[in-house]
Protein backbone atom coordinates (compact mmCIF):
# COMPACT_ATOMS: atom_id res chain seq x y z
CA UNK A 1 0.00 0.00 0.00
CA UNK A 2 2.75 2.41 0.91
CA UNK A 3 6.09 2.67 -0.85
CA UNK A 4 4.31 2.03 -4.10
CA UNK A 5 6.33 3.80 -6.74
CA UNK A 6 10.11 3.77 -6.26
CA UNK A 7 12.75 3.67 -3.56
CA UNK A 8 11.37 6.75 -1.83
CA UNK A 9 10.48 6.50 1.85
CA UNK A 10 6.82 6.50 2.77
CA UNK A 11 5.81 8.63 5.76
CA UNK A 12 2.97 8.31 8.21
CA UNK A 13 2.09 10.77 10.96
CA UNK A 14 -0.53 9.88 13.53
CA UNK A 15 -2.05 12.58 15.71
CA UNK A 16 1.22 14.43 15.94
CA UNK A 17 1.34 17.46 18.21
CA UNK A 18 4.15 19.82 19.05
CA UNK A 19 3.92 22.21 21.95
CA UNK A 20 6.75 24.63 22.64
CA UNK A 21 6.96 25.94 26.10
CA UNK A 22 8.37 29.43 26.19
CA UNK A 23 9.06 30.81 29.67
CA UNK A 24 6.51 28.52 31.28
CA UNK A 25 3.81 29.21 28.72
CA UNK A 26 2.69 26.46 26.33
CA UNK A 27 2.60 27.50 22.69
CA UNK A 28 1.04 24.76 20.54
CA UNK A 29 2.58 24.70 17.05
CA UNK A 30 0.91 21.50 15.84
CA UNK A 31 -2.45 20.47 17.25
CA UNK A 32 -2.80 16.90 16.03
CA UNK A 33 -1.79 16.10 12.50
CA UNK A 34 -2.36 12.79 10.78
CA UNK A 35 -0.91 12.46 7.31
CA UNK A 36 0.35 9.74 4.98
CA UNK A 37 2.80 10.30 2.16
CA UNK A 38 3.54 7.54 -0.29
CA UNK A 39 7.07 6.61 -1.25
CA UNK A 40 8.21 8.71 -4.20
CA UNK A 41 5.35 11.16 -3.86
CA UNK A 42 6.03 14.90 -4.09
CA UNK A 43 4.04 16.88 -1.57
CA UNK A 44 3.84 20.63 -1.01
CA UNK A 45 2.96 21.81 2.48
CA UNK A 46 1.51 25.29 2.25
CA UNK A 47 0.32 27.73 4.84
CA UNK A 48 0.93 31.20 6.11
CA UNK A 49 3.86 31.98 8.37
CA UNK A 50 3.31 30.70 11.88
CA UNK A 51 0.90 28.03 10.66
CA UNK A 52 3.28 25.26 11.84
CA UNK A 53 4.30 24.03 8.39
CA UNK A 54 8.03 24.34 9.10
CA UNK A 55 7.63 22.62 12.44
CA UNK A 56 5.91 19.77 10.64
CA UNK A 57 8.83 19.48 8.22
CA UNK A 58 11.38 19.48 11.05
CA UNK A 59 9.50 16.67 12.77
CA UNK A 60 9.53 14.64 9.56
CA UNK A 61 13.26 15.32 9.28
CA UNK A 62 13.93 14.04 12.82
CA UNK A 63 15.42 17.38 13.77
CA UNK A 64 12.78 17.71 16.44
CA UNK A 65 10.57 15.36 18.43
CA UNK A 66 6.79 15.55 18.57
CA UNK A 67 5.22 16.25 21.96
CA UNK A 68 2.78 13.45 21.31
CA UNK A 69 1.71 11.27 18.38
CA UNK A 70 3.59 8.84 16.22
CA UNK A 71 5.83 9.10 13.18
CA UNK A 72 6.64 6.20 10.89
CA UNK A 73 9.17 5.80 8.09
CA UNK A 74 7.67 2.89 6.22
CA UNK A 75 6.75 0.52 9.04
CA UNK A 76 9.40 1.76 11.41
CA UNK A 77 8.39 4.05 14.22
CA UNK A 78 10.98 6.83 14.42
CA UNK A 79 9.57 9.58 16.68
CA UNK A 80 11.15 8.38 19.90
CA UNK A 81 14.56 7.17 18.73
CA UNK A 82 17.63 8.24 20.73
CA UNK A 83 19.80 11.07 19.29
CA UNK A 84 22.44 8.79 17.77
CA UNK A 85 19.92 6.66 15.88
CA UNK A 86 18.11 9.76 14.66
CA UNK A 87 21.46 11.14 13.44
CA UNK A 88 22.19 7.92 11.55
CA UNK A 89 18.72 7.99 9.99
CA UNK A 90 19.15 11.65 8.98
CA UNK A 91 22.47 10.76 7.45
CA UNK A 92 21.25 7.72 5.48
CA UNK A 93 17.67 8.52 4.60
CA UNK A 94 17.06 12.26 4.64
CA UNK A 95 18.33 15.16 2.56
CA UNK A 96 17.61 18.68 3.76
CA UNK A 97 17.38 21.86 1.71
CA UNK A 98 16.90 25.01 3.79
CA UNK A 99 15.65 28.47 2.98
CA UNK A 100 18.94 30.07 4.04
CA UNK A 101 21.05 27.33 2.39
CA UNK A 102 22.94 26.42 5.58
CA UNK A 103 26.29 25.77 3.98
CA UNK A 104 29.13 25.49 6.48
CA UNK A 105 31.03 28.81 6.45
CA UNK A 106 34.67 29.02 5.35
CA UNK A 107 34.35 25.56 3.85
CA UNK A 108 34.52 24.76 0.15
CA UNK A 109 31.52 23.63 -1.87
CA UNK A 110 33.22 20.29 -2.39
CA UNK A 111 33.76 19.74 1.34
CA UNK A 112 30.16 20.69 2.04
CA UNK A 113 28.93 18.05 -0.38
CA UNK A 114 31.36 15.48 1.03
CA UNK A 115 30.09 16.04 4.57
CA UNK A 116 27.20 13.51 4.69
CA UNK A 117 29.48 10.85 3.18
CA UNK A 118 32.20 11.69 5.71
CA UNK A 119 29.83 10.96 8.59
CA UNK A 120 29.08 7.68 6.91
CA UNK A 121 32.76 6.78 7.05
CA UNK A 122 33.26 6.66 3.30
CA UNK A 123 36.95 6.76 2.28
CA UNK A 124 38.25 10.17 1.16
CA UNK A 125 38.86 9.33 -2.50
CA UNK A 126 35.47 7.77 -3.06
CA UNK A 127 33.85 10.65 -1.20
CA UNK A 128 35.55 13.28 -3.34
CA UNK A 129 34.71 11.51 -6.58
CA UNK A 130 31.06 11.28 -5.63
CA UNK A 131 30.93 14.92 -4.43
CA UNK A 132 32.54 16.11 -7.69
CA UNK A 133 30.01 14.16 -9.71
CA UNK A 134 27.12 15.65 -7.72
CA UNK A 135 28.43 19.22 -8.00
CA UNK A 136 28.78 18.72 -11.75
CA UNK A 137 25.21 17.42 -11.95
CA UNK A 138 23.86 20.60 -10.34
CA UNK A 139 26.01 22.72 -12.65
CA UNK A 140 28.55 23.72 -10.01
CA UNK A 141 31.45 21.62 -11.30
CA UNK A 142 33.58 24.71 -11.92
CA UNK A 143 33.16 26.11 -8.39
CA UNK A 144 34.27 23.19 -6.23
CA UNK A 145 36.71 25.24 -4.17
CA UNK A 146 34.44 28.27 -3.65
CA UNK A 147 33.18 28.92 -0.14
CA UNK A 148 29.65 30.09 0.59
CA UNK A 149 30.66 33.76 0.79
CA UNK A 150 32.01 33.51 -2.76
CA UNK A 151 28.75 32.14 -4.18
CA UNK A 152 25.43 33.76 -5.07
CA UNK A 153 22.24 32.62 -3.35
CA UNK A 154 21.18 30.44 -6.25
CA UNK A 155 24.63 28.87 -6.44
CA UNK A 156 24.65 28.21 -2.70
CA UNK A 157 21.27 26.52 -2.94
CA UNK A 158 22.54 24.32 -5.77
CA UNK A 159 25.49 23.23 -3.61
CA UNK A 160 23.03 22.58 -0.78
CA UNK A 161 20.91 20.41 -3.07
CA UNK A 162 23.99 18.48 -4.18
CA UNK A 163 24.80 17.96 -0.49
CA UNK A 164 21.26 16.80 0.25
CA UNK A 165 21.49 14.29 -2.59
CA UNK A 166 24.97 13.08 -1.67
CA UNK A 167 23.77 10.25 0.52
CA UNK A 168 21.10 9.11 -2.01
CA UNK A 169 18.35 9.71 0.55
CA UNK A 170 14.89 8.23 0.29
CA UNK A 171 13.36 11.46 1.56
CA UNK A 172 14.09 15.01 0.46
CA UNK A 173 12.85 17.78 2.73
CA UNK A 174 12.91 21.33 1.43
CA UNK A 175 12.01 24.27 3.68
CA UNK A 176 11.11 27.29 1.48
CA UNK A 177 14.03 26.39 -0.82
CA UNK A 178 13.39 29.38 -3.07
CA UNK A 179 12.33 31.83 -0.37
CA UNK A 180 15.61 33.78 -0.43
CA UNK A 181 16.07 33.77 -4.19
CA UNK A 182 15.08 36.02 -7.06
CA UNK A 183 12.42 34.61 -9.35
CA UNK A 184 14.80 33.44 -12.06
CA UNK A 185 17.06 31.51 -9.62
CA UNK A 186 13.95 30.25 -7.86
CA UNK A 187 12.68 28.68 -11.07
CA UNK A 188 16.03 27.00 -11.71
CA UNK A 189 16.20 25.61 -8.18
CA UNK A 190 12.65 24.27 -8.34
CA UNK A 191 13.36 22.64 -11.70
CA UNK A 192 16.52 21.09 -10.27
CA UNK A 193 14.68 19.68 -7.25
CA UNK A 194 11.89 18.24 -9.33
CA UNK A 195 14.17 16.74 -11.94
CA UNK A 196 16.27 15.08 -9.24
CA UNK A 197 13.10 13.72 -7.68
CA UNK A 198 12.03 12.30 -11.02
CA UNK A 199 15.46 10.78 -11.59
CA UNK A 200 15.90 9.12 -8.20
CA UNK A 201 12.21 8.56 -7.33
CA UNK A 202 12.85 10.16 -3.96
CA UNK A 203 9.98 11.21 -1.76
CA UNK A 204 9.91 15.03 -1.76
CA UNK A 205 8.23 17.19 0.83
CA UNK A 206 8.48 20.91 0.18
CA UNK A 207 7.28 23.68 2.46
CA UNK A 208 6.26 26.92 0.80
CA UNK A 209 3.79 29.77 1.14
CA UNK A 210 3.75 30.18 -2.64
CA UNK A 211 0.82 28.45 -4.36
CA UNK A 212 2.58 28.89 -7.70
CA UNK A 213 5.35 26.61 -6.54
CA UNK A 214 3.00 24.17 -4.87
CA UNK A 215 1.26 23.55 -8.20
CA UNK A 216 4.39 21.88 -9.54
CA UNK A 217 4.12 19.10 -6.98
CA UNK A 218 1.77 16.16 -7.16
CA UNK A 219 -0.15 16.97 -3.98
CA UNK A 220 -0.71 19.99 -1.79
CA UNK A 221 -1.39 19.86 1.94
CA UNK A 222 -2.58 22.99 3.71
CA UNK A 223 -1.70 23.75 7.27
CA UNK A 224 -3.49 26.38 9.25
CA UNK A 225 -3.05 27.11 12.89
CA UNK A 226 -1.40 23.75 13.55
CA UNK A 227 -4.07 21.70 11.79
CA UNK A 228 -4.50 20.26 8.33
CA UNK A 229 -7.14 21.91 6.17
CA UNK A 230 -9.39 20.12 3.75
CA UNK A 231 -9.31 16.43 2.86
CA UNK A 232 -6.26 14.59 4.27
Amino acid sequence: MINSDGPGISLRLEAVTKIYSVSGEDLPALRGISLSIRGGESVAIVGSSGSGKSTLLHLMGLLDRPTSGELYFGDRRVDSLPPTERAVLRNRSIGFVFQNFQLIPRTSALENVEMPLLYRGMPARERQDRARELLASVGMGDREQHTSSQLSGGQQQRVAIARAMAGSPGLMLADEPTGNLDSRSAATILDLLLSLRDRFKTTLVLVTHDMEIAQHLSRTVRVRDGRLEGPP
Binding site: G61, L63, D64, T84, P105, M115
Partner: protein, 402 residues
Protein backbone atom coordinates in the same frame (compact mmCIF):
# COMPACT_ATOMS: atom_id res chain seq x y z
CA UNK B 1 40.60 9.74 12.04
CA UNK B 2 38.79 11.83 9.45
CA UNK B 3 37.01 13.61 12.28
CA UNK B 4 40.32 14.40 13.94
CA UNK B 5 41.53 15.94 10.68
CA UNK B 6 38.28 17.87 10.54
CA UNK B 7 39.06 19.35 13.95
CA UNK B 8 42.57 20.31 12.94
CA UNK B 9 41.29 21.79 9.69
CA UNK B 10 38.88 24.09 11.46
CA UNK B 11 41.78 25.34 13.62
CA UNK B 12 43.62 26.32 10.46
CA UNK B 13 40.62 28.36 9.40
CA UNK B 14 41.16 30.56 12.43
CA UNK B 15 44.96 30.68 12.68
CA UNK B 16 45.32 33.72 14.95
CA UNK B 17 42.94 32.46 17.56
CA UNK B 18 44.54 29.00 17.43
CA UNK B 19 48.03 30.40 17.95
CA UNK B 20 46.94 32.68 20.79
CA UNK B 21 45.13 29.81 22.47
CA UNK B 22 48.09 27.46 22.30
CA UNK B 23 50.31 30.27 23.59
CA UNK B 24 49.02 29.62 27.12
CA UNK B 25 50.03 25.97 26.96
CA UNK B 26 53.27 26.92 25.21
CA UNK B 27 54.30 29.26 28.03
CA UNK B 28 53.28 26.71 30.66
CA UNK B 29 55.36 23.93 29.13
CA UNK B 30 58.24 26.31 28.48
CA UNK B 31 58.37 27.40 32.10
CA UNK B 32 58.16 23.82 33.40
CA UNK B 33 60.99 22.71 31.11
CA UNK B 34 63.19 25.73 31.79
CA UNK B 35 62.70 25.74 35.56
CA UNK B 36 63.30 22.01 35.99
CA UNK B 37 66.29 22.28 33.66
CA UNK B 38 67.79 25.07 35.74
CA UNK B 39 67.06 23.25 38.99
CA UNK B 40 68.69 20.04 37.81
CA UNK B 41 71.61 22.13 36.54
CA UNK B 42 72.00 23.67 39.99
CA UNK B 43 71.88 20.21 41.53
CA UNK B 44 74.57 18.96 39.15
CA UNK B 45 76.69 21.99 40.06
CA UNK B 46 76.43 21.35 43.81
CA UNK B 47 77.06 17.62 43.51
CA UNK B 48 80.00 18.25 41.22
CA UNK B 49 81.65 20.62 43.66
CA UNK B 50 81.13 18.12 46.48
CA UNK B 51 82.62 15.39 44.33
CA UNK B 52 85.52 17.79 43.71
CA UNK B 53 86.24 17.71 47.41
CA UNK B 54 86.51 13.94 47.35
CA UNK B 55 83.64 11.54 48.00
CA UNK B 56 85.62 9.56 50.56
CA UNK B 57 86.52 12.62 52.56
CA UNK B 58 85.84 13.00 56.27
CA UNK B 59 86.32 16.39 57.88
CA UNK B 60 87.14 16.67 61.58
CA UNK B 61 86.60 20.10 63.06
CA UNK B 62 87.11 21.17 66.66
CA UNK B 63 84.04 21.60 68.85
CA UNK B 64 82.62 24.89 69.99
CA UNK B 65 84.17 27.17 72.57
CA UNK B 66 81.91 27.72 75.51
CA UNK B 67 82.28 31.34 76.50
CA UNK B 68 80.66 31.94 79.93
CA UNK B 69 77.92 29.45 79.11
CA UNK B 70 77.33 30.57 75.52
CA UNK B 71 78.53 28.31 72.74
CA UNK B 72 80.31 30.30 70.07
CA UNK B 73 79.83 27.76 67.27
CA UNK B 74 81.43 24.71 65.74
CA UNK B 75 85.05 24.90 64.62
CA UNK B 76 86.06 27.67 67.01
CA UNK B 77 87.98 25.64 69.57
CA UNK B 78 91.68 24.91 69.34
CA UNK B 79 91.71 21.33 70.58
CA UNK B 80 92.93 19.55 67.44
CA UNK B 81 96.64 19.15 66.75
CA UNK B 82 98.92 17.73 64.13
CA UNK B 83 99.51 14.82 66.51
CA UNK B 84 95.78 13.99 66.29
CA UNK B 85 96.10 13.95 62.51
CA UNK B 86 99.14 11.69 62.73
CA UNK B 87 97.31 9.29 65.06
CA UNK B 88 94.34 9.11 62.70
CA UNK B 89 96.69 8.53 59.80
CA UNK B 90 98.60 5.72 61.46
CA UNK B 91 96.06 4.00 63.71
CA UNK B 92 92.78 3.85 61.78
CA UNK B 93 92.66 0.78 59.52
CA UNK B 94 89.85 2.30 57.38
CA UNK B 95 91.63 5.63 56.89
CA UNK B 96 93.86 5.71 53.90
CA UNK B 97 95.50 9.05 54.62
CA UNK B 98 94.93 12.22 56.65
CA UNK B 99 96.26 15.73 56.97
CA UNK B 100 95.87 18.52 59.47
CA UNK B 101 95.34 21.95 58.00
CA UNK B 102 95.16 25.50 59.22
CA UNK B 103 94.41 28.67 57.41
CA UNK B 104 94.86 32.38 57.83
CA UNK B 105 94.58 35.45 55.68
CA UNK B 106 97.70 37.34 54.72
CA UNK B 107 99.16 39.81 52.29
CA UNK B 108 101.47 38.17 49.76
CA UNK B 109 104.01 40.06 47.68
CA UNK B 110 106.12 39.36 44.63
CA UNK B 111 108.71 41.82 43.34
CA UNK B 112 106.05 43.32 41.03
CA UNK B 113 102.70 42.88 42.73
CA UNK B 114 100.86 42.09 45.92
CA UNK B 115 97.69 40.16 46.64
CA UNK B 116 95.61 39.47 49.71
CA UNK B 117 94.83 35.80 49.93
CA UNK B 118 94.45 32.73 52.12
CA UNK B 119 97.53 30.97 53.47
CA UNK B 120 96.88 27.30 54.03
CA UNK B 121 99.23 25.33 56.22
CA UNK B 122 99.09 21.66 55.30
CA UNK B 123 100.96 18.42 55.69
CA UNK B 124 102.53 16.65 52.68
CA UNK B 125 99.63 14.19 52.73
CA UNK B 126 97.17 17.03 52.02
CA UNK B 127 97.48 16.70 48.27
CA UNK B 128 96.62 12.97 47.99
CA UNK B 129 93.86 13.33 50.62
CA UNK B 130 92.21 16.04 48.53
CA UNK B 131 92.93 14.11 45.32
CA UNK B 132 94.54 17.27 44.06
CA UNK B 133 97.29 17.49 41.46
CA UNK B 134 99.98 19.99 40.72
CA UNK B 135 99.98 21.90 37.49
CA UNK B 136 103.74 22.43 37.64
CA UNK B 137 106.69 21.96 39.97
CA UNK B 138 106.55 19.93 43.17
CA UNK B 139 105.00 19.83 46.64
CA UNK B 140 106.87 19.88 49.95
CA UNK B 141 107.71 16.63 51.70
CA UNK B 142 108.35 15.45 55.26
CA UNK B 143 111.77 17.08 55.30
CA UNK B 144 110.42 20.57 54.60
CA UNK B 145 107.57 19.91 57.03
CA UNK B 146 109.93 18.97 59.84
CA UNK B 147 112.33 21.78 58.99
CA UNK B 148 109.62 24.43 58.86
CA UNK B 149 110.93 25.31 55.42
CA UNK B 150 109.86 28.57 53.81
CA UNK B 151 108.49 27.03 50.63
CA UNK B 152 105.15 27.80 49.01
CA UNK B 153 102.84 26.20 46.47
CA UNK B 154 100.61 28.72 44.71
CA UNK B 155 97.02 28.44 43.60
CA UNK B 156 96.29 29.37 40.00
CA UNK B 157 94.84 32.77 40.76
CA UNK B 158 97.63 33.80 43.15
CA UNK B 159 100.25 32.74 40.60
CA UNK B 160 98.76 34.87 37.86
CA UNK B 161 98.14 37.86 40.18
CA UNK B 162 101.71 37.89 41.45
CA UNK B 163 103.66 36.79 38.40
CA UNK B 164 101.41 37.34 35.41
CA UNK B 165 102.51 35.17 32.52
CA UNK B 166 106.07 34.59 33.78
CA UNK B 167 107.05 31.35 35.51
CA UNK B 168 106.99 31.72 39.34
CA UNK B 169 108.83 28.48 40.12
CA UNK B 170 112.09 29.16 41.91
CA UNK B 171 111.16 32.77 42.51
CA UNK B 172 110.51 34.27 45.92
CA UNK B 173 107.37 35.73 47.42
CA UNK B 174 106.96 37.46 50.77
CA UNK B 175 104.31 36.41 53.26
CA UNK B 176 104.08 38.92 56.09
CA UNK B 177 107.52 40.17 54.98
CA UNK B 178 109.17 36.73 55.27
CA UNK B 179 110.55 35.32 51.99
CA UNK B 180 109.19 32.00 50.69
CA UNK B 181 110.51 30.12 47.67
CA UNK B 182 107.83 29.04 45.17
CA UNK B 183 108.17 25.31 44.42
CA UNK B 184 104.93 24.45 42.67
CA UNK B 185 101.62 25.52 41.17
CA UNK B 186 98.35 23.76 41.99
CA UNK B 187 95.98 22.63 39.25
CA UNK B 188 92.71 24.51 39.08
CA UNK B 189 89.96 23.22 41.39
CA UNK B 190 87.32 25.92 41.32
CA UNK B 191 84.74 26.77 43.95
CA UNK B 192 84.39 24.73 47.11
CA UNK B 193 80.82 23.83 48.15
CA UNK B 194 81.12 26.50 50.82
CA UNK B 195 81.61 29.09 48.09
CA UNK B 196 85.34 29.65 48.49
CA UNK B 197 87.52 29.80 45.44
CA UNK B 198 90.11 27.10 46.02
CA UNK B 199 92.45 28.50 43.41
CA UNK B 200 92.92 31.69 45.39
CA UNK B 201 95.34 30.43 48.05
CA UNK B 202 98.95 29.72 48.96
CA UNK B 203 99.90 26.38 50.54
CA UNK B 204 102.86 26.24 52.92
CA UNK B 205 104.04 23.50 55.34
CA UNK B 206 101.76 23.32 58.39
CA UNK B 207 104.67 23.69 60.82
CA UNK B 208 105.89 26.77 59.01
CA UNK B 209 102.48 28.43 59.21
CA UNK B 210 102.03 27.46 62.87
CA UNK B 211 105.38 28.61 64.20
CA UNK B 212 106.57 31.30 61.81
CA UNK B 213 103.41 33.08 60.74
CA UNK B 214 100.68 32.45 63.32
CA UNK B 215 102.58 31.32 66.43
CA UNK B 216 100.09 28.59 67.37
CA UNK B 217 100.22 24.81 67.84
CA UNK B 218 96.70 23.69 66.90
CA UNK B 219 95.18 22.81 63.52
CA UNK B 220 91.90 24.18 62.23
CA UNK B 221 90.75 20.99 60.61
CA UNK B 222 91.80 17.43 59.96
CA UNK B 223 90.96 16.00 56.55
CA UNK B 224 90.88 12.21 56.36
CA UNK B 225 90.22 10.01 53.35
CA UNK B 226 88.52 6.68 53.94
CA UNK B 227 89.82 3.64 52.06
CA UNK B 228 86.54 3.40 50.09
CA UNK B 229 83.10 5.04 50.09
CA UNK B 230 81.51 2.11 51.92
CA UNK B 231 84.08 2.30 54.73
CA UNK B 232 83.14 5.87 55.64
CA UNK B 233 80.97 4.75 58.57
CA UNK B 234 83.69 2.55 60.02
CA UNK B 235 86.30 5.27 59.48
CA UNK B 236 84.12 7.74 61.34
CA UNK B 237 83.83 5.40 64.36
CA UNK B 238 87.59 4.85 64.38
CA UNK B 239 88.36 8.57 64.34
CA UNK B 240 85.84 9.12 67.11
CA UNK B 241 87.46 6.40 69.26
CA UNK B 242 91.00 7.63 68.78
CA UNK B 243 90.20 11.29 69.41
CA UNK B 244 88.18 10.46 72.56
CA UNK B 245 91.13 8.44 73.82
CA UNK B 246 93.63 11.20 73.03
CA UNK B 247 91.42 13.95 74.44
CA UNK B 248 90.43 11.90 77.53
CA UNK B 249 86.72 12.02 76.78
CA UNK B 250 84.65 9.07 78.10
CA UNK B 251 82.49 7.23 75.55
CA UNK B 252 79.33 8.91 76.88
CA UNK B 253 80.89 12.38 77.23
CA UNK B 254 80.39 15.29 74.88
CA UNK B 255 83.24 15.31 72.33
CA UNK B 256 85.29 18.45 71.68
CA UNK B 257 85.29 17.74 67.95
CA UNK B 258 82.88 17.03 65.15
CA UNK B 259 83.20 14.61 62.23
CA UNK B 260 81.45 15.38 58.95
CA UNK B 261 81.39 13.10 55.93
CA UNK B 262 81.21 14.68 52.49
CA UNK B 263 78.93 11.89 51.33
CA UNK B 264 76.37 12.97 53.96
CA UNK B 265 76.58 16.54 52.76
CA UNK B 266 76.16 15.34 49.20
CA UNK B 267 73.06 13.38 50.21
CA UNK B 268 71.56 16.38 51.96
CA UNK B 269 72.34 18.63 49.02
CA UNK B 270 70.80 16.10 46.66
CA UNK B 271 67.65 15.92 48.75
CA UNK B 272 67.43 19.70 48.96
CA UNK B 273 67.77 20.17 45.25
CA UNK B 274 65.14 17.50 44.61
CA UNK B 275 62.75 19.48 46.80
CA UNK B 276 63.72 22.61 44.89
CA UNK B 277 63.09 20.89 41.55
CA UNK B 278 59.67 19.62 42.61
CA UNK B 279 58.73 23.00 44.01
CA UNK B 280 59.72 24.84 40.84
CA UNK B 281 57.91 22.28 38.68
CA UNK B 282 54.79 22.76 40.79
CA UNK B 283 54.90 26.52 40.42
CA UNK B 284 55.41 26.17 36.68
CA UNK B 285 52.51 23.71 36.48
CA UNK B 286 50.21 26.45 37.69
CA UNK B 287 50.92 28.38 34.51
CA UNK B 288 50.20 25.18 32.60
CA UNK B 289 46.80 24.97 34.25
CA UNK B 290 46.17 28.61 33.37
CA UNK B 291 46.93 27.63 29.77
CA UNK B 292 44.41 24.79 30.04
CA UNK B 293 41.77 27.20 31.30
CA UNK B 294 42.56 29.34 28.25
CA UNK B 295 41.73 26.38 26.04
CA UNK B 296 38.51 25.78 27.96
CA UNK B 297 37.58 29.41 27.47
CA UNK B 298 38.29 29.57 23.75
CA UNK B 299 36.60 26.23 23.09
CA UNK B 300 33.46 27.44 24.87
CA UNK B 301 33.47 30.60 22.75
CA UNK B 302 34.13 28.54 19.66
CA UNK B 303 31.24 26.16 20.36
CA UNK B 304 28.90 29.09 20.87
CA UNK B 305 30.11 30.86 17.76
CA UNK B 306 29.77 27.75 15.67
CA UNK B 307 26.42 26.65 17.03
CA UNK B 308 24.81 26.94 13.62
CA UNK B 309 27.62 24.96 12.01
CA UNK B 310 27.05 22.25 14.61
CA UNK B 311 23.33 22.34 13.78
CA UNK B 312 24.09 21.92 10.08
CA UNK B 313 26.42 19.02 10.76
CA UNK B 314 23.78 17.36 12.92
CA UNK B 315 21.10 17.86 10.25
CA UNK B 316 23.40 16.21 7.73
CA UNK B 317 23.85 13.24 10.04
CA UNK B 318 26.69 13.90 12.45
CA UNK B 319 26.11 11.79 15.55
CA UNK B 320 26.67 13.42 18.96
CA UNK B 321 29.83 11.33 19.15
CA UNK B 322 31.11 12.78 15.86
CA UNK B 323 30.67 16.33 17.16
CA UNK B 324 32.37 15.38 20.43
CA UNK B 325 35.36 13.88 18.65
CA UNK B 326 35.69 16.88 16.34
CA UNK B 327 35.80 19.45 19.13
CA UNK B 328 37.88 17.26 21.40
CA UNK B 329 40.48 16.82 18.69
CA UNK B 330 40.55 20.59 18.25
CA UNK B 331 41.38 21.00 21.93
CA UNK B 332 43.89 18.16 21.77
CA UNK B 333 45.58 19.60 18.70
CA UNK B 334 45.76 23.07 20.25
CA UNK B 335 47.39 21.77 23.41
CA UNK B 336 49.62 19.28 21.60
CA UNK B 337 51.10 21.85 19.22
CA UNK B 338 51.35 24.36 22.05
CA UNK B 339 53.14 21.79 24.19
CA UNK B 340 55.50 20.76 21.38
CA UNK B 341 56.38 24.38 20.65
CA UNK B 342 56.81 25.06 24.36
CA UNK B 343 59.06 22.03 24.72
CA UNK B 344 61.18 23.08 21.74
CA UNK B 345 61.30 26.64 23.11
CA UNK B 346 62.34 25.30 26.52
CA UNK B 347 65.19 23.29 25.03
CA UNK B 348 66.40 26.35 23.09
CA UNK B 349 66.07 28.51 26.22
CA UNK B 350 68.15 26.06 28.28
CA UNK B 351 70.78 25.89 25.55
CA UNK B 352 70.77 29.69 25.54
CA UNK B 353 71.32 29.86 29.30
CA UNK B 354 74.16 27.40 28.97
CA UNK B 355 75.81 29.53 26.28
CA UNK B 356 75.21 32.84 28.03
CA UNK B 357 76.01 32.03 31.67
CA UNK B 358 77.89 28.77 31.32
CA UNK B 359 75.68 26.89 33.80
CA UNK B 360 75.28 23.23 33.18
CA UNK B 361 71.67 22.97 32.01
CA UNK B 362 71.15 19.32 31.18
CA UNK B 363 68.03 18.98 29.04
CA UNK B 364 65.58 16.88 31.06
CA UNK B 365 64.42 14.64 28.19
CA UNK B 366 62.23 12.39 30.31
CA UNK B 367 60.66 15.33 32.08
CA UNK B 368 60.19 17.03 28.74
CA UNK B 369 58.32 14.06 27.32
CA UNK B 370 56.22 13.82 30.45
CA UNK B 371 55.43 17.53 30.40
CA UNK B 372 54.40 17.54 26.75
CA UNK B 373 52.22 14.46 27.27
CA UNK B 374 50.76 15.91 30.46
CA UNK B 375 49.99 19.26 28.82
CA UNK B 376 48.26 17.53 25.90
CA UNK B 377 46.20 15.48 28.32
CA UNK B 378 45.37 18.65 30.24
CA UNK B 379 44.15 20.29 27.02
CA UNK B 380 41.95 17.27 26.28
CA UNK B 381 40.54 17.36 29.81
CA UNK B 382 39.73 21.05 29.54
CA UNK B 383 38.30 20.48 26.04
CA UNK B 384 36.01 17.74 27.28
CA UNK B 385 33.34 20.02 28.72
CA UNK B 386 32.96 22.33 25.69
CA UNK B 387 33.00 19.33 23.33
CA UNK B 388 30.37 17.58 25.42
CA UNK B 389 28.23 20.71 25.36
CA UNK B 390 28.56 20.90 21.58
CA UNK B 391 27.52 17.27 21.20
CA UNK B 392 24.45 17.77 23.38
CA UNK B 393 23.04 20.66 21.37
CA UNK B 394 19.54 20.26 20.02
CA UNK B 395 19.86 20.17 16.21
CA UNK B 396 16.80 22.35 15.61
CA UNK B 397 17.79 25.03 18.11
CA UNK B 398 21.36 24.98 16.83
CA UNK B 399 20.15 25.49 13.25
CA UNK B 400 18.06 28.49 14.25
CA UNK B 401 20.91 30.06 16.25
CA UNK B 402 22.02 33.40 14.89
Amino acid sequence: MTLVLLGIRSLLKNPYRSILTSLGILIGVLSVVVLTGIASGAKALVLQSIANLGPNLLVVIPGSVTDSGAQVGGGTDTTLTAEDARAIRSQCPDIWNASGALRTAAQVQSPHANWSTVILGAEPSYLPVRDWRLARGGFFGDQEERGMARVAVLGRIVASRLFGLSDPIGKFIQINHAPFRVIGILSSKGQSPMGMNQDDMVVVPLTTLQSQIMGVTYVGVILAAATSPDRIGAARREIDGILRLRHHIPPDGRPDFEIQAMSDIAKTAGRLSLILTVLLALIASISLIVGGVGILNIMLVSVRERTREIGIRMAIGARPRDILVQFLSEAAALSFFGAMAGGAGGVLFLAGIHLAVGWPTPIPWEGLLLTVAGATLLGILFGLYPAWRASRLDPMEALRYE
